[in-house]
């Protein structure tokens, strides 16, 4: 039993049998219902601009396929999504529609050129870093997938070269060649903010892992716009305590800022800081209790975000654009254009100072995982409270619930789009 190098069957297996031995798959099926309440803010007056459905129902089939033909590995994640949407507010009140989506969210071809050298191309959800709030060091994805783990982050196309010269060091060259599924009308369009316009981005990433600490530096160039120096690191301070930090220094800010001018609304959204150097810094730490969960705290400073004066101009412009859009007069079309700009500013966050407090506990009574999160905008006072609960019903079935409640006044970041969103569903794993 367990003897290494035991003799194999002397009959040479056929090629189909060999392929079958090297093929593996997983299958997950999710079905869920979502109820969400669009905020009646000037960004989305009476839900006529963003037209957010009040109810969503979804069925997703998620097979993950893998074929290991050492030194080549192939994988694919084709997806089928059937979605039902119903509107309760605005022009589309009473509307309902079905939509089906068939797409490959991720796929990968990886070649092990040597034991320490790998080349790959494919569609990936390429994430890194220790932070929960967002991942400033990642130049590719705005969404780090942490808010709702039951939604898949849409993949983008990457070519990668990964070289491991020593066990503690890794060097990666990454080329983000296409937006893939990460587009404004992508599979998660009703759950996350649309991504900014795609530009090819190239990165050089250097990773170091020590005894009880790790660090990475990422140098990136986004075509026609930005140079970025991302970094993250962390350490195991004790059995219970982790500390970490993450950030980016960026030159070339493509975000939109409100500028007073002679436009019909007295201001317009413009790219004002394209030659600026911006810094984003996030620090965090976690403490794991004995036989209980983990408490995590983070603080982020986002220098490209609006100052108080800029925020006042932004909300004023948004109010005027929203009112023009609502009235339907001669400035309605212009108002609609401005609302499009105020909805997608190109900035990850609207303001400068944020905090996060999170409690996570897994395997409660052997059946439940729980995450509670409080995200605070320290500048405008708005906040979001999120829960993520997974409850196992045996070895294959899981009930889940993900909810977010937003609080703040009408001219605040978290209350701009939704008052609340609640997803409840069932997942089956084969």
């Amino acid at each position: 039993m367990g003897m290494a190098g035991e003799g194999r069957d002397s009959d040479d297996p056929t090629i189909p049998k060999k392929l079958a031995e090297r093929f593996s798959y997983d299958l997950r099926i999710l079905t869920y219902g979502v109820t969400q309440d669009p905020a009646d803010s000037k960004q989305n007056p009476k839900n006529n601009f963003l037209q957010i459905p009040h109810y969503l129902g979804g069925l997703e089939i998620r097979p993950d396929l893998r074929l290991n033909l050492d030194p080549v590995e192939l994988s694919a994640k084709p997806r089928m999504k059937l979605e039902y949407r119903a509107w309760q507010e605005g022009f589309r009140k009473g509307d309902a529609e079905w939509k089906d989506d068939w797409y490959v969210n991720e796929w990968l071809a990886r070649w092990k050129a040597r034991e320490n050298l790998f080349l790959s191309y494919g569609r990936e959800n390429l994430q890194w870093g220790p932070s929960f709030l967002f991942s400033p060091s990642n130049p590719f994805f705005q969404d780090n997938g942490r808010r709702n783990p039951y939604l898949e982050v849409p993949g983008m196309d990457f070519g990668r070269l990964v070289w491991i010269p020593k066990s503690s060091w890794t060097l990666s060259f990454i080329a983000n060649t296409d937006e893939g599924q990460n587009k404004p009308d992508g599979p998660n369009r009703y759950f996350i903010s649309p991504p900014p316009p795609f530009e090819k981005t190239y990165s050089l990433k250097v990773d170091y892992t020590g005894r009880e600490n790790y660090g990475s530096v990422i140098l990136s160039y986004r075509e026609h716009s930005e140079y970025l120096l991302g970094f993250f690191g962390g350490g195991t301070i004790s059995d219970a305590v982790l500390l970490y930090g993450e950030g980016v220094i960026a030159k070339g800010n493509e975000g939109l800022y409100p500028q007073q001018d002679s436009s019909p609304f007295g201001a317009s959204m413009q790219k004002l800081h394209q030659n600026d150097v911006d810094t984003v810094l996030l620090i965090g730490g976690s403490y794991t209790f004995e036989r209980k969960g983990t408490l995590t705290m983070e603080y982020a400073y986002y220098s490209p975000g609006y100052s108080n004066a800029e925020a006042d101009r932004y909300y004023s412009l948004r109010r005027k654009a929203g009112e023009a859009f609502e009235l339907g007069g001669p400035l309605s079309g212009f108002g609609q254009m401005v609302l499009g700009q105020t909805a997608v500013t190109g900035l990850r966050l609207l303001r400068r100072n944020y905090a996060l407090l999170q409690y996570t506990q897994t395997n409660i009574l052997n059946v439940m995982d729980l995450t509670l999160r409080w995200t605070q905008n320290l500048d405008d006072g708005s906040f979001q409270i999120t829960h993520v609960v997974g409850y196992s019903l045996g070895n294959h079935w899981e009930l889940f619930s993900v909810g977010a409640v937003n609080a703040g006044n009408g001219d605040s970041e978290f209350r701009s789009i939704l008052n609340y969103q609640w997803m409840v569903g069932v997942k089956y794993t084969l």
Partner: protein, 254 residues
Amino acid sequence: MNRQHPKRLLIGAVFTLVSSLGFFLPSLQAAMSPKEILTKADEARGNADGVEWEIAIESVEGGRQQQRTIRVTARGFNSLAEFLAPPNVKGQKLLMLDRNMWFAKPGLSKAVPISPRQKLLGGAANGDIASTNYAGDYKIVETSEGLVNNEACYLFDLSAVDNRATYDRIKYWVSKERLVGLKAEFYTVSGKMFKTATFEYENSVKIGGQPRTFISQMVITSAVMKEDITTMSYRKASIKKVPDSIFNLNLLTK
């Protein structure tokens, strides 16, 4: 001529030789230092150069039962544990690079750093699934003798060399005859015993071309709640060269 006389001499000589081996063998083992004995015992519970095995974990905690099957690839202080069963945990991965740990789950966008305090399952700690290196991770404070199931043992009192070790202090019974660990008691910094473990060795692997007995089971019992028992059954064990790429976060999820 008495032809039986040389034959009797020969039988007597052989008998004397075989009997004296019983004196020589313990003497040979007694010539091994405590650290060498501990190293030998470690070989039966993993190998610093690289090992891969499957572990079926059955945990009873507070009357509730839970099972997991994990494939572990380990080398030195690094290990990668991939959950194979049941289906609702299949594909989850726990990566340990010395004192750094990450947890990755299918559907989770990125691996999450976790602290050493986060438990694997039941009474099993993350360090219990990887190969053992007591000889390197602990210093021998005291050596004495003991018995486990009527088997004569060396009893080592071990203290962690640094915070890499999973436990602060261990009392470890190693069979004198087989040179494998039979029982362990695990202590906190304050000196409180919080769990015990017993070991069985019905597996066999080749080390240096020679077959060697290898761990087949570890049973962990809580010292506080005696009904809380975690059983780890090791199977499909093989000693192999493990490349750095196995432990690389950039290649972990696919």
